[in-house]
């Protein structure tokens, strides 16, 4: 009897370990799945600004936001992250990456050496991007100046350093779906939904997160505490928070940072505006239209 019980425990443990191994295996996109393609650099540039890559990856303390040497300290409740060098430098950046490596990073959050990226890199949003847009972005990044120098390691508590565990996080919060247009809605609204939920990754800051660091789906866009710590907060951008803003008001915020009450945006949003100001007026209008169309959701209490 006891022997049978021990056997059972062993078998269950093996199954459990196999399941863990399988679930936490870093996913990739193979080069065969991509096919041939001629990238559109203009669209790549648009994706660069819509995606706000420079906000995290630009070399800090200098003015050229196309120098993507990385190294900015990004505080979080889980530790401090240092976004890597994504300039086209062959040794220290992404100059040696294949297109499939890049698509894998953006869609699956997996690095070329097959390990998980931390979700501080917002692949939960970037996975929504169209393949063409990701490929255009890659081509555009390759046109930017190469910056030498590898970035230091993330500063995380020991138990968060086991990257394999992130496979479990992805199992819970990364569904691998691209965003399909809603045919019952206008092209403009679909464009806005795409920019906001895909490259723009607005929800990553404008939503509360659960204790595991996943976005609380029912309160998406309803604001929350400053993810970088401190006692600041990120505003609710559903009509429950900014219902008195017109579409034009939102466009102006994205264009210049000027809010209708005379204030100007601060914190990380100032860096966001540095990017959205470079989008076309049409794209800003699409974002505004979509934001105005969100259902009103009450967010967490603001401090």
């Amino acid at each position: 009897m006891l022997r049978k019980l021990v056997m059972l425990v062993v078998i269950l443990a093996v199954i459990g370990a196999a399941a863990f191994w399988f679930i936490t295996m870093p996913a990739t996109v193979s080069a065969d799945a991509l096919g041939s393609y001629t990238p559109d650099l203009d669209n790549g540039k648009t994706m660069f600004y819509a995606g706000g890559c420079a906000s995290c990856h630009a070399t800090p303390n200098q003015d050229d936001k196309t120098k993507l040497g990385g190294g900015l300290a990004l505080k979080s409740p889980f530790g401090t992250f240092y976004p890597p060098n994504i300039s086209p430098d062959r040794n220290d950046g992404i100059g040696g990456w294949s297109e499939a490596d890049f698509v894998t990073a953006m869609w699956k959050g997996t690095s070329p050496d097959g390990s998980h990226y931390y979700p501080a890199f917002p692949y939960t949003s970037y996975q929504r991007m169209r393949l063409e847009d990701v490929r255009d972005l890659f081509a555009y990044l390759k046109t930017l100046p190469a910056v030498q120098g590898k970035v230091r390691d993330h500063d995380l508590p020991l138990h968060f350093k086991i990257r394999r565990m992130l496979g479990g996080w992805k199992f819970l919060f990364l569904d691998g779906e691209q965003l399909r247009p809603d045919t019952s809605k206008s092209a403009q609204r679909n464009r806005g939904a795409y920019l906001v939920n895909g490259p723009g990754h607005c929800a990553e800051c404008h939503s509360p997160r659960n204790p595991l660091g996943g976005i609380v789906a029912s309160q998406r866009f309803a604001g929350g505490p400053d993810p970088e710590g401190g006692d600041g907060s990120v505003p609710n951008i559903t009509p429950a928070g900014i219902g008195d803003y017109s579409e034009r008001d939102i466009e102006r915020i994205l264009e210049s940072g000027d809010m209708p009450n005379g204030d100007s945006v601060g914190g990380a949003m100032a860096a966001v505006v540095a990017n959205t100001s470079k989008l076309s007026a049409d794209d800003r209008a699409a974002i505004a239209l979509y934001i105005k169309s969100l259902p009103p959701v009450k967010g967490p209490k603001r401090p």
């Binding site: 401190g230 600041g232 102006r252 009450n261 914190g267 990380a268």
Partner: protein, 145 residues
Amino acid sequence: MIRTALVVAMLAFGATALVAQSDPIAARKALMKANGDQSKVATDMLEAKQPFNLDAAKKVFATFAEAGEKAPVLFPDNSKTGGDTAALPTIWEDKADFTARLAKFASEAKAAGAATKDFDSFKVQITEVRKNCGGCHQTYRKKTS
């Protein structure tokens, strides 16, 4: 009469200076509030929510310039906390940069006021001058927006 006016003016000046000295947080918040109110006037004129008026436009820049000139001394070391301040400790970590940014804001606002002759020039000037706002709000103000 002139003497009375002078005395009143001096007293008023003294009182302002005193408030600034005794409660720098309230004083700098008042300056920022005035900036916000004037910035709203500017936006409303740009959006044709209120008609363009040259005096009102110049007042926007004069208010900005005044805030930029008066603000630097309103961040003494004993005003890092309290009074519901949104100022971040980063101000005191790089005071030189913070002060330089205020000075740049003040001088650009002043020049913009002088260069504003009509609606079109106002539009150009206000857009340029307000680019300064985000620079400090990003680094030196508690995240609220």
